[in-house]
Amino acid sequence: MSNDIVTRMGDGERVSLSAEEIREDIQAGTADAAQRGGIPELTAQEQEQLFDIIADPSRIVSVKPGEEVIVTDDGCTMSFYSGQDGGGVGAPLSRMQAVLTYERACGADTTSLGHSDYSYKPVKPIINFEANDYYNTSMMTTAPFFYGAQPNLGLYFQPDGPCPNAAELMPMGKIDEARRAQEEAAGHLTKDLVFVGSRLADVGLEGLNFDTSGSAGDADFMAALQAVAELKRRVPDLPILMGASGEFILGMHGEVEYAGTRLAGLYPQDQVRIIETAGADIAGVAINTATTESLPYNLARAVTFVKAASEASNIPVHANVGMGVCGIPMMEQPPIDSVTRVSKALVQLGKADGL
């Protein structure tokens, strides 16, 4: 058996696999997604198309002309000037310069501004500074210009916030206390999300992004959903993109609901429905990359989940394609060969409306 197709592992390591091994990994990946999510596997034809994308000998692959989609920006402009933690290259650019460079030099479909912490809570005390930067930049941009950050419920627990730390209470068996702490924290989070969104809406906010919602569990996700609904009530014309943080909503609380649906354990096809119910305009999905599995395995999983979400949704579905998500290898500089294969597969086979 020849090992002549060069691909990657989930941690980015370059490996050579035979065609048979790649097909086996694709089959295993789609089967795993189907079993976990209770969704259909990719058809034999789709698996073969995915094989062709992965096995393409070119370093870079792309969708066909006419099949292109929207690439929404989730903090990318910050990576012009930020450092390693944000995947940033540390170029000496101002925020506005970064946004305009991304729009004009890179041809981005949308751009964004965000606080360097990339959480909403720290924005609250500096909202006037952020509103000022947003407003000034929005006068210069032509493409849609979002403000984006993560809800990040974790910042509301002691010692960083006012609520007892659920992550400490839970292992002590103090389940009721931990749940109450999460509910209290979610209340604070929703208020802050609405506060920041409303204040930015006052200065002509074109779009708001609740990125990586649910990273601290189901209460985090609930807070973001509630904020979407409240903002839509207050500012009905404010476009909102709400993205999830993983292939299922982590049940740190386990019982919180939104619109009668228990949030813990929701997979992408149900995440997009609940995001739609809250009133968001675009839903984001994120599928975990397993670093010990191959790109064919991870990408087959991601495509299977994204396709199911896309079919279930009435609003545009954008797949999160950052580091370690949706098949992108988990490393600081994801290899371009993998990145473009993920990009193409999620659009062509996952039927994503955007990335």
């Binding site: 969708v63 690439v71 990576s79 012009f80 479909d109 032509t142 014309d237 545009p316 990009s343 193409k344």
Partner: protein
């Protein structure tokens, strides 16, 4: 950073190089799925869907309509002036434009 550029090259519509911004506005303001959004924009521009990502076609259209070109043209609308025209062209509400209009005393 390079990852974002790779995604743009592999599957992005091209922003203001072509019509990616216009299609994005339709997803944001009307919750349109990608095919519906493209069809809407193509109809407004009077071109085929395949043309939406054709730089050779979109360059002239953008220049003629004054909706912003990727290369900087002295006197050519960009920024809020281009968005003002985009909102009008697509028949949508762009919130920054609405604020600008109210500040300038233009009719909504």
């Amino acid at each position: 950073m390079g990852m974002h550029i790779a995604h743009i090259m592999a599957s992005c519509m091209g922003g203001i190089r072509t019509s990616g911004d216009l299609v994005a506005w339709m997803q944001m303001t009307r919750k349109m799925r990608i095919h519906e959004a493209k069809a809407y924009v193509a109809e407004k521009l009077g071109v085929g869907i395949i043309d939406l990502t054709d730089e050779e076609i979109m360059r002239d259209i953008r220049k003629d309509l004054g909706i912003g070109t990727v290369t900087s043209i002295a006197g050519g609308p960009k920024g809020i002036r281009a968005k003002y025209r985009i909102a009008d062209l697509l028949g949508i509400n762009i919130r920054s434009v609405a604020l600008f209009k109210s500040q300038m005393g233009f009719p909504g």
